[in-house]
């Protein structure tokens, strides 16, 4: 089945925004955190501390607040699409199996 036909082009962007909201910001901030932690781990066999890294990164965690606040709306849009769009429903289920 062709994924590009799962969602009508005109609704695609809006739908994805409603469901996934600011997930790209979440990825970005966590990638920074991950890299800082990994760098610390690579530099020291015995890591003295990681708290300083969290203290530095947590002020940038506001995307989580926004994401959490919007999560229910996303879930609603997702369920609505699944029940009204068989192609989308199949896309979700196929992905689950694979």
């Amino acid at each position: 089945m062709k994924e590009s036909e799962v969602l009508p082009v005109e609704r695609r962007t809006d739908f994805l925004e409603q469901v996934f909201w600011n997930v790209h910001d979440i990825i970005a901030v966590n990638t920074r955190l991950r890299d800082a932690l990994s760098k610390r781990q690579k530099s020291y066999a015995v890591v003295e501390q990681i708290g300083d890294i969290f203290l530095e990164m947590i002020p940038h965690f506001s995307p989580f607040v926004s994401y959490g606040a919007h999560q229910l709306y996303g879930k609603y849009e997702f369920e609505k699409e699944k029940s009204s769009n068989p192609a989308f429903s199949a896309f979700v289920e196929v992905r689950k199996e694979s």
């Binding site: 062709k2 994924e3 590009s4 036909e5 799962v6 969602l7 082009v9 695609r12 962007t13 994805l16 996934f20 997930v23 790209h24 979440i26 990825i27 966590n30 990638t31 955190l33 991950r34 890299d35 932690l37 990994s38 760098k39 610390r40 781990q41 690579k42 530099s43 066999a45 015995v46 890591v47 990681i50 896309f91 992905r95």
Partner: protein, 298 residues
């Protein structure tokens, strides 16, 4: 001060300094000769070195061009007072002397190229010089020939032509032309920032060993590998949940307390959990979101 890399300059200085006398060897008297030890003394003085082997090598580069030869014609320069040498003399030629000058002019271009690449060559030679056995003076093969091969090429015309002409004008007409060539072991570095007292950035620099000993640095063989700590590739793709005690050498594990081991495992878990989280999010983005955004094929 004589630039020691230019054979013509060294040869000229050598001819001016060396004392010629009549000496007896094997019952025969040779006129206007010098001995091997004195030759090495003089060359060492001219190139300002205390390294007699280096001076001997340079001397062999000179004799390789027939600047002088053993009175018995059967061996190369040796650092030995019992061996006698004399300068080559040119037998007056009925065809005049124009031939030699012409030859030098045509060879200048090749030599200029050699000078440009001098530093690179020098590195090879330095390495060889360090690792080769001391030239004993007993044999004409091996190291001596290697040095000859490098140095026998004529040096660039800007140095040698005027040089040679001046030399020719000053000395008696029966003297042979001076040897020409670049002794790459003694060339300066191409880098303008390279000086006597600062380590050159280039590991191929011919001065580097000298600089290292002056700066009391330990000579390091070649380049050292520095394990990169910036790259995250290996960690990002590492198996999730690897224990800290399995990721560090046993000595380190043994060196910390039980409490510290637990703390390290906790820190390790926090870090790999974050890695797993980012990996999951990237999966969500690449496998769930992006396919839905792709344009339908036309």
């Amino acid at each position: 001060m004589v630039y020691p890399a230019l054979l013509s300059r060294v040869a000229e200085a050598f001819r001016n300094r060396v004392q010629l006398s009549d000496q007896v060897k094997d019952g025969l008297t040779y006129k206007d000769v010098f001995d091997g030890r004195e030759a090495v003394d003089k060359i060492a003085y001219i190139i300002k070195t205390t390294d007699r082997n280096l001076a001997l090598l340079l001397g062999r580069a000179l004799d390789a061009q027939k600047f002088f030869h053993a009175v018995t014609y059967d061996h190369r320069l040796r650092d030995n007072a019992n061996d006698l040498y004399q300068f080559r003399t040119v037998v007056a030629s009925p065809f005049g002397s124009g031939e030699l000058e012409e030859e030098e002019g045509t060879m200048g271009t090749t030599a200029a190229l050699l000078l440009n690449q001098g530093s690179e060559h020098a590195s090879t030679v330095v390495l060889t010089a360090q690792s080769s056995p001391t030239p004993s003076g007993e044999s004409d093969s091996g190291f001596g020939d290697l040095i000859d091969g490098i140095t026998r090429t004529p040096s660039p015309s800007q140095f040698t032509q005027s040089d040679t002409r001046r030399a020719n004008a000053n000395v008696a007409t029966d003297d042979a032309p001076l040897p020409t060539g670049v002794f790459t072991l003694l060339t300066d570095c191409y880098s303008p920032t390279c000086s006597r007292d600062r380590l050159c950035y280039s590991i191929a620099c011919p001065r580097r060993l000298e600089q290292q000993s002056r700066l009391n640095m330990k000579p390091q063989p070649g380049l050292k590998k520095q394990i990169s700590k910036e790259s995250l590739g290996e960690l990002v793709t590492a198996e999730p949940g690897t224990l800290w005690i399995h990721s560090v050498p046993q000595e380190i594990v043994n060196s910390v307390s039980e409490k510290e081991k637990k703390r390290q495992e906790a820190i390790n878990e926090a870090i790999y959990t974050e890695r797993d989280f980012v990996r999951d999010m990237e999966y969500l983005r690449d496998v769930r979101i992006l396919p839905l955004l792709r344009r339908p094929p036309r």
